[in-house]
Structure formats: C-alpha cells, structure tokens
Symmetry: D2
Subunit: 259 residues, 4 copies
C-alpha cells in the first residue's frame, strides 16, 4: 500500500514548534491581532496596518443581525434539540448559501468581471456601470448586492465604505459598485443602495481576495454571533420550546385509505 | 394563533440602526478590534485592554494545527465532495466534541469545582492539586487538559501562560492548573504539562467565562484555520482525490447467500 | 511512514464485487427489502420475517411529524438559504439530540437497566415499575418516553405496540414500559401514555439493539421526511422567505457609546 | 405582528391523528413497506408494486461502499471527535455534493434534456447518443455517470438495470444511457460503462422523479450505511485515533519573524 503524499502550505507541526504561513504561532499569539492572523491564513502574508484594519472591520460588520436571519434561526432551533454547541453553530453556518450571504461570492465575481471588461473595452467606471445595469434589465437578472429588506441606508455599509476611503483601500471594484447603485436608482426610479453583502464583495475584491472566498469572511465573522445566539438559547430558554408561530394549513392529498 | 414572544439581549435591529449588546455596530466597526467584539458578544460588555488582548491571544492559539486533526480532515474530505465552502467548514466544526477540544469545557468545569472546593475546605492551591491528583488516580479518571500527542512543551501554552502573567489575568484557575501539572509529574514520574486545551480552560475560567462556552472559543478561532484548509483543498487538489492511505481488511461475516 | 491498518466488518469492496455483512449487494438489491437491509447493516444478520416487519414499521413511524419539529424547521430554514439538498437534510438531522428524539436513547438505557435490575432483585414487572416511578418522583427526575405535547393517545405508538404483540416481538422492555405508564397514571392522577420515542426505545430493546443506536432509527426514518420537507421548501417557496412570526423584544444592555 | 401563513402538502398533525400525503400514519405503519412510504413522501402517491420494488432496489444500491468514500470518512472522523451519532451521520451526508453522488442530479438533468431533444429533433436513441457523445468530446466535457474508479462492471448497476427491464420500468432515459455507453466505447476505444450514479439517474428519470431529487435517494439510502460506519467507529475504535497515514510536507512560506 503506497503512502499518500500531502503538500500543505498552511501549517507545519513539529514537536514543540507550530509554524503557520511562515510564522511561529507563539510569535503570532499576543503580538499580531487575531483579525490580521485571519488575513495571514487566507492570503498567505500578514496585512499592512491599513489592510488589517479593513479586514477587522469587515469581520465585525458580519457578526450578527439579530434572531431573524436563517443562520440565527437554524443555530437556535438545532440548539433547542439538545446538541453540543459546535453542532448548533455549524447548522447556522450551513444556511449560508446562494441566498444568505450568497451575494458576496457572486457579487465579487460580477464586479471582477465588470472591472476586467471595463479595462478591456476602454470604458470608464460610469460607462461600465450603465452598460451592466442596462444588460441586467434586458436579461431580467438582478445584480446581486444591492437593496435590503430592512435598511434603506445600511449603517454597516456606510461605515465600511467611509473607512475604505479613509484607508485608501477602495479602488475600482468599490467605485464600480457605487456607480452601479447610481445607475440602478436612475433605472428603477428609487434608491437601491449597496447592501452589506455587496459592500463586502467590493472590498474583498479591491483587497485582492479570490471571489470564491466571499462567504468565508461572512462565515468567520458570523461564527461569533452564532455563538452568542446559541448560548442565549441554551442559557435562557427551555429545550424544544415552540419558537415561532405560524398558521399551518395542510393542502396535500385528501385523506384516503391504504388499499 | 397567538404570537410567540421573543426576548433577546444580543442585537436590536431597526431600519438603519443595528445595536449589539448596547453598541451601534457602525461604532464598533473599525473602532473596536474584532476579538474585543467577540468578547462583547459573549460576555455582554467590552473588555478592558488586558482582557481584550488575552482573548485575542486565545483565539489565535486555536487557529490551526495542520492537516491531521479531525476538524481539518472532516472539512477537507467534505470539501472534496464538491459542496459550498460553509458546508465544509461546518463539517470541520462538527468534529469538535468530547475528544477534540472537549478538554476545554470539561477542564474548565473541573478547575471551577476545584477552586470552589479549595475555598470551602480552606486548602491552598498546592494542597488542592495534590488531593485532586490523588483522587483521580484512585478513581482511575484522567484529569483533562494535560499532555499532548506531539508536544512535550506546547509553544502555544507557554506563550499564553506568560502573557496571562504579564497581563495580570492569571489567577486561581491558572494557578491550580499549574499545581496539578506539578503533582502529575510527581505522581507519574514524568512530565505531563498543561496542553493548549487545558490552558484555554484555565484562562477563560480566570476571565469569568461560563465553562459551557469552552468549545466556543475553539470554534471561533478554528473557523479561520478551517477556512484556509478548505480553500487549499479546493484550489490545489482534485475533487474526490484519495486523501489517505490505509490498509483495509474486511473482518465481517463470511460471504453467504440470501436464502 | 507506517501504514495505518483498518479493520471493518461492514463492507468489502473488490473490483466488481461488493459484499455487505456477508451478502453480495447485487443479491440484496431487489431481493431483500430495504428495511431488512437496514437491520442487516446495524445488527449484522438479516432479520427473520417478523423482525423485518417490526423494523420496517419503526422506520415508518419516524418519517415525519409535520413542519413544526426542530428537525423540519432546521432543514427548511437552511434550505431557504440556498444550499444543496444534502446540506439542508443534514441540518435537520443535527437537531436530533437530548431533547428531540433523545428519549429513544435514554429511554432504552433506562428500560435496559430496569429489566436487568428486576431480574437481579427478583421483582416482577409491576413491582419494578412501581419502584422506578416512586424513585423518579423522589429524585424529581422525569422518566423519558412518556407524554406528548399534542397527542394523548399517539396513533403511531398504538399501532407499533399492537403490531409488536401480534408479531411476538414485545417482551420485558415493552411490558415494563406499559407498566410504568400505569404507575405514572396512578402517581400523577392523569394519563401520561408511552410516546413514540418511548415506544421505539422499548421495541429496539426487545429486539436486542444496543441502546446507543436509539437515535439511529429515528435518523434513518426521519431522513425521508426531511427530504420531503426540503423538496417542498425549494419547489414551493421563495428563497429566504420570512418563515415564522415572532414578536422580538430586545432586552439587552442599554444603548451607549464606545469610549 | 401578522401571523405567517404556511401551506404544506406533506403531513397534517391533529391530536391523535397524523396524515401523510393523504394516508393516516397508523395505516401506513406495518402495512406499507418503508421504501414505498419514501416513494409516497416524495412523489405524493403510493407506488404500484413494480415502482415500489424498483425504488426499494435503488435505496439498497446506495447503502454503502466501504470505508473509503468521502461520506464514510467524514462520518467516521467526526464521530471520532466525540459527538452525538446524528451529528456524525450528518457530516457524512454533507459530503454528498457535485463530485460525490453529483452525477445522479446532473446525469438525470442531462438525460432529461437528451430525451426531450431527441423527440423534438425526431432522432432515435442511437442517433441522439452519438450526437451527445460527439458534442461532449468537442466541448471537452465529461458526460457524468459513466466509469468507476474500482469497478469495470459494477454489480449494482447490472442488477438494477436487469431489474428495471424485468419490471418494465426502463424506458427512454435508461435506453439513452445504455446507448451513450455504447457510443463512449466506440469513441474512447475502451469500455466506460454506466456507473451506479448514472444508473440511478436514468432510473429515477424513467420513474418520473424531478432531477433535483437525484441526491435525495442517495442520501436516504446512504444514511443507513453511515449509521453502520459511525456505530462501528464508536464501538470498536479509540477516540481520536489516527485514522489515515499520509506523508505531510509543508511547502508554505519560509519561516520568518514577525516584524
């Protein structure tokens, strides 16, 4: 039986020595902020002060949005069944998909393609945004990352974008995103501002992260909020409590006998 | 149908305003380090500078331990099946149980009971440690949080403990933990030093966290490492690759016919 | 690097030959009912006709209980986030814990200990039941597997128990379970009949299954119902729809400024 | 707070009455085989004897393929961390994705499109198969559901296909699948027979199931095998045992100091 060969560029483990992406963990611990270590793990290099600050802000912007998102509901309902905390947190994270946090991934890919095409076709940001909005209207495809069920002016987005300007992080992807919001307003006759998913999509693109990592930042940040959700559920509520009310109507097949 | 009433002390969501544990998220973002926000989410108050630094260090100490722990293996093998990143990360977290990270939870409970009993019975740290080691020997029950398969002197533990001293975080639970290590060495005739789980158990106890949150810190920190593991798997390896070699011998029932 | 040795008694895989618990899969397929194959997988032998029928009935009794149990809610809410079907089904199964289906495992252990003790102490079923109910009252510990939020006379339990009598499956564990229900009624002054979890606990015990497998039968049966729940969710509902109503009140810390 | 309205066509729950897809559960239990109840849950009607037999065979064909598939590995490694059985089984199911069982879903969609196009373009089965194989070669896209790492003549496929003929279940989708295998052999100069995923894809298509349910049958069947895998792991092996050997080489960034 031949032995499988593995190569990994993440962590080297030797007796009494653990090296992650080139740095000894005992040098990272207490010296480099956790959010910078997250950057290191994913990007392979430590961030400069501005990048570190931006990523830290992104993680905080993802922590929690109350008890109603699918992730909170899933984590709490699974916790109420009486399972270990990691299982309940995991159930919450599993709901992060095409429709919950999905705009980060797809939004980042859309912006990346947009910026690439803009350069190739020699357009400026405003022209490119106008083209993309027009095309999406023709194809009846929503551009992901704009509009929110509750917020018309999401405080997280606002803060993240002003911070990105201040830190000099915002570049083409953020600019294209802002220009699309302007075009969407013209096209729809109402504001459809960048939401937090769309904002994170633009920021990680300008920071050079692979769009396929879009959901990862949401997962890492939200993991903290879900821990709080699960802990509140188990420390404050009864097991298997009735959590939500809904008027349930059965509209399946008529009652009948087994032949 | 009566409406269910919910009370939550985590996050208040109103149009254009999100308040977590009393703080507007747009004030936390970019102003308070992510690790301090984690503290806030779980403890309900912002940490002081020393507590914040200690928690940040704990999260970093949990990030990753290479490709061999069950969490890395589970995350990678699930990722190799071709699923979304959050599903694969979740599978990794689900392996965190009684035997993987379990010593944090149970170790913290053990130390808590030890410190309580010490005060009640008017013993000092050394006396209490001697009693606990003696009892565990008699009951043939391992004290959790000591010894490691690979490290005889875990660099993470060393760094966390020195930082805890420096920051004035280390109190009775850390002291009892250290005293137990001394007694274990006497009793066993060989070193069985505090491992990273046991160290985190002692630290969160001295920081006043509920022992039931033991695995949560590991989950939040490791979530970052698992993201890197999953990303490496999907960006560098072939789908459904053969990951591990093992010589498999079938020793089940003899082959027979269905009657 | 030494090769790990594995022994497995489940399935032998050779080119063009797959043998499970001694039987070629191509002989099982189409010749042995799926539920009997489940028995084979877990018990290591094919069931006789009566055992097979009983296990088949148990699996059917576990399939589904509408949209309100934690497993249905978790599966649906995770599905609504836009993830693959297996992830959503898995999330539903993950809610099966100490409080959701937990009575099967713990109930089976309780009955096993009860029957053992009965024999050891030379008591009859009725005496043992009286003792157990008295003790549970004194210790203020609920005996698991009795009473249901909705059903006073659960149709699944009724059918399973009559079938077990008919097939000659019911023995000491079922008898003890029935006797406990009688004693509980005397003790409480109201009926607290065996629920479906308690019934499955008694039946699998009389069929000789390890109590630790208690949740497994529920998992296998419910997996089918969760598939239907997830399929209904994705084929009939909008993504991330608001599923449940709840009046949410924030009672966390007062709003304050970051210093 | 308005109450959410739910409609469900799966199960109606009333006190002492549970009706699934029109049938009282107490009439299904013990009277209708579990695999037929699975059919009912998903299709909304009870199968006739032949359909019931075919689905039963499909479920059995999915039960287990030893310790090496990602689902078995994930379930076992998560179980070894010390978690509840449902969590470990769930982790196994979560690995079922685009590359593990994925050919059922995509294969069924491909066959469905193929049969539709055949009718529209007035081609016969052989002509359509030739076109599809030619096109896939030109586009360099693999047709999913053919070939297996271990089996050149998968015993499960052989048995399922002969049963489908015998029961009169096999129609256009199976025929197209067989014709594609013939064309692939011509095109590649070697046999690339229908594998079990491709076979299930063809069968469920001929039985009228939605292709999006492709993985569901695999999930339901495999759930039984994963139960056996998890049970073997916890009853026979040590917690957190080293499961697999692999020669791990770190090829990440060179070791360096934190500035």
């Amino acid at each position: 039986m031949e032995t499988i060969k593995w190569k990994t560029g993440i962590t080297k483990v030797e007796p009494n020595k653990i090296v992650t992406k080139g740095y000894r963990q005992d040098e990272l611990i207490g010296n480099v902020p956790f959010s910078h270590v997250v950057f290191l793990l994913i990007k392979g290099v430590l961030p400069n002060e501005k990048e570190g600050k931006m990523l830290d802000a992104i993680l905080t912007a993802c922590i929690d949005h109350g008890v109603t998102p699918p992730s909170s509901q899933a984590a709490r309902v699974v916790a109420s069944g009486g399972v270990p905390m990691p299982t309940a947190i995991a159930a919450g994270l599993m709901s992060i998909g095409d429709f919950h946090g999905g705009a980060i991934e797809k939004g980042a890919l859309f912006l990346k393609d947009g910026v690439k095409r803009m350069k190739k076709e020699g357009k400026n940001i405003e022209e490119m945004a106008a083209i993309l909005v027009k095309e999406s209207k023709e194809k009846k495809q929503r551009i992901l990352g704009f509009g929110h069920r509750i917020h018309t002016d999401d405080p997280r987005t606002k803060k993240l974008l002003s911070l990105a300007d201040e830190l000099g992080i915002a570049k083409d992807h953020v600019a294209l995103s802002k220009a699309i919001a302007v075009e969407l307003e013209k096209s729809l006759g109402k504001k459809l501002p960048i939401n937090v998913d769309g904002c994170v999509a633009a920021l990680i693109s300008d920071m050079g992260f692979d769009w396929r990592l879009g959901k990862a930042f949401f997962v890492i940040g939200r993991c903290a909020g879900l821990t709080a959700q699960v802990y509140e559920e188990i420390s404050r509520e009864k097991p298997m409590r009735r959590m939500w009310s809904a008027d349930v109507e059965y509209d399946g097949p008529e009652e009948k006998k087994v032949d």
